[in-house]
């Protein structure tokens, strides 16, 4: 196993009486593709919120590589290389796709503080942003305001924004949510083509996709990690089958 890219230790979180994360020990090695599955309301999105700093854990620690990042702000974690996408599109409706990705690149390169030179003068940032959009096949509509893009394109832009930060660890929250089944395979082929320097943890409900793209699978139920293993182990696991066949699947 490679060195760990991301790890959590004893992460707890409750909303009032509702426990959404209990003693979460997650280990994501460098360069691997892990899937995080579990019924709706299991606490998967909450776990991403905790790891990226959008929620504060009640207890526990988060490590990026060797570094304890529990006390860092969300934007500082992004600077360290821990980046997420959102289950529900969280984009900039009136910015064009090019502007949004350029903004991300500018923030990374430290240009976003400069207020004297014009944006187009930062050719390197604009070019890099455009190249990312080309690689995700978004170039044709990159000058249109985000809110005018087709839904599938907006899902791709979610990923484009994350990639523009040059992540080391990428957490994808249901990247194919709402995308028709035919197109979701295409979207995941984009993900599997990502550089092997990036460790990926993705949440997905479609088991075919999960078994095809994940090296290992983590199953979450009721705020706890139920089991973790290779796709073959998970497919054979009785407890997982109980959760999925007995309970809600997409519910």
């Amino acid at each position: 196993m490679n060195a760990l890219a991301l790890a959590t230790r004893g992460l707890d979180k409750s909303f009032g009486s509702l426990v959404v994360a209990k003693d979460i020990e997650l280990k994501l090695p460098q360069g691997e593709r892990y899937a995080l599955i579990g019924p709706n309301g299991a606490g998967k999105t909450t776990l991403i919120n905790l790891m990226t700093g959008m929620l504060k854990p009640d207890r526990g620690h988060i490590f990026l590589g060797e570094k304890d990042i529990t006390a860092l702000k969300p934007e500082e974690r992004v600077k360290c290389g821990l980046v997420r996408t959102f289950q529900i599109n969280t984009l900039f409706p009136h910015l064009s796709a090019l502007e949004a990705v350029t903004l991300t690149v500018c923030e990374r390169r430290g240009y976003a503080r400069s207020w004297w030179r014009k944006l187009p003068a930062y050719g390197d940032a604009v070019e890099e942003a455009h190249a990312i959009l080309v690689s995700l096949r978004l170039a044709a509509s990159c000058y249109r305001p985000t809110r005018e893009l087709a839904y599938g394109q907006q899902r791709l832009l979610e990923i484009a924004l994350a990639l523009a930060t040059k992540p080391k660890v990428l957490l994808l929250d249901e990247p194919a949510a709402g995308v028709p089944q035919g197109e979701s395979a295409e979207l995941f082929s984009v993900i599997s083509d990502l550089s092997r320097d990036i460790a990926v943890l993705f949440i997905e409900h479609d088991m075919n996709v999960v078994f095809r793209f994940a090296h290992r699978i983590i199953v979450m139920v009721g705020g706890r990690i139920l089991v973790e293993g290779t796709p073959r182990e998970i497919a054979a696991d009785v407890r997982v089958r109980d959760v999925y066949l007995g309970g809600t699947r997409h519910g």
Partner: protein
């Protein structure tokens, strides 16, 4: 920079920020009062000052999405600074204005640390509270501010030692318009820079910003300070051109007025505050004979109508109209 060296995406971005003929026409038109309305230069000067104040609000509200109900705090602070310096015997306009800018900027920077922590209702309350706080402080400190009687005894020297502030407002309008234009150039630069893009990012989606590694609070502190400086300059101009400062420069009514002006013109489009100021101030001048209560009746009705039917202000409405006409043709 020649367009030939720019790539396709760069050219696209460049095209969005190029000077338009209508902009040049607008600024040329601001010179018309000298020729056609020499009796209205005093009013024109007040319009330029209000436009500058609205432009400064546009930077934080229209671009960064920070709703403020207390922006007059910086206007009034600049006003009193410029007024007091002149009253204490230093009547040189430009240095006085610089002092107003610095004072408002320091106040803006100090308060920006509070502002950057809040959003939504809490932000509205905090800006309102800070504005009221300063107004009350100025009211209590009558020995310094003149209290409800206003600051008397402000005497300005000649501008550049040559141009007297006259009764006709020739010097005043030239002075205010020049400062407005310079501030506008600065704002235009700023908006079209990477920093300006980051501000629009905050307005468009404050939740996403940290997730792309953007330190929103730092951006907000910066633009808030810049806007405070600009508001302070506007206030300083008012003190210098009218040679008096009243408590009203700090009041809630002024904060609300400038909000109305900006929304009327169209927030987030740089010319919104300017156009709004012209419409509002000219209308108020025309109706100056009527009871102020009725004035507020119409302003209130106008606000309700703009919110319901013209959410992007007059300029937004015009843009939409142009698009309709063009697509029909």
């Amino acid at each position: 920079m020649t367009p030939f060296t720019l790539s396709e995406p760069q050219r696209h971005l460049e095209a969005q920020i190029r000077w338009q003929p209508v902009e040049l026409a607008f600024w040329l038109a601001t010179l018309l009062p000298f020729v056609f309305a020499p009796n209205y230069l005093v009013l024109a000067s007040q319009i330029a000052i209000t436009a500058l104040f609205a432009l400064s609000l546009d930077l934080i509200l229209g671009y960064a999405g920070i709703v403020s109900l207390g922006h007059a705090a910086y206007f009034g602070f600049g006003s009193y600074t410029a007024g007091l310096i002149a009253k204490w015997g230093w009547g040189e306009p430009l240095t006085g204005l610089a002092a107003a800018a610095v004072a408002a900027g320091v106040l803006g920077y100090a308060t920006s640390f509070i502002i950057a922590r809040f959003r939504h209702l809490a932000l509205i309350m905090i800006t309102l509270g800070l504005g009221l706080l300063l107004a009350e402080a100025a009211n209590s400190a009558g020995w310094l501010t003149g209290g409800a009687d206003g600051l008397q005894g402000v005497r300005m020297w000649k501008l550049f030692g040559a141009f007297q502030f006259d009764l006709y407002g020739t010097t005043a309008y030239t002075y205010s318009l020049t400062i407005l234009f310079l501030a506008f150039l600065l704002a235009r630069r700023l908006i079209n820079s990477p920093f300006g893009l980051a501000l629009r990012g905050i307005r468009e989606n404050a939740v996403r910003m940290p997730a792309i590694g953007a330190p929103s609070p730092a951006h907000i502190r910066k633009i808030y300070t810049i806007a405070a400086v600009m508001a302070g300059v506007a206030g300083g101009l008012l003190a210098q051109t009218t040679e008096t400062v009243s408590l009203e420069t700090l009041g809630f009514a002024r904060s609300a007025d400038v909000l109305v002006i900006l929304i009327l013109g169209g927030a987030g489009r740089l010319y919104g505050g300017l156009v709004g100021a012209i419409i509002y101030m000219v209308a108020r001048d025309q109706f100056s004979g009527i009871n102020p209560q009725y004035w507020y009746f119409w302003i209130g009705t106008l606000l309700i109508a703009v919110v319901l039917f013209l959410p992007n202000g007059v300029l937004g409405g015009l843009t939409r109209l142009m698009r309709l006409v063009r697509s029909a043709a």
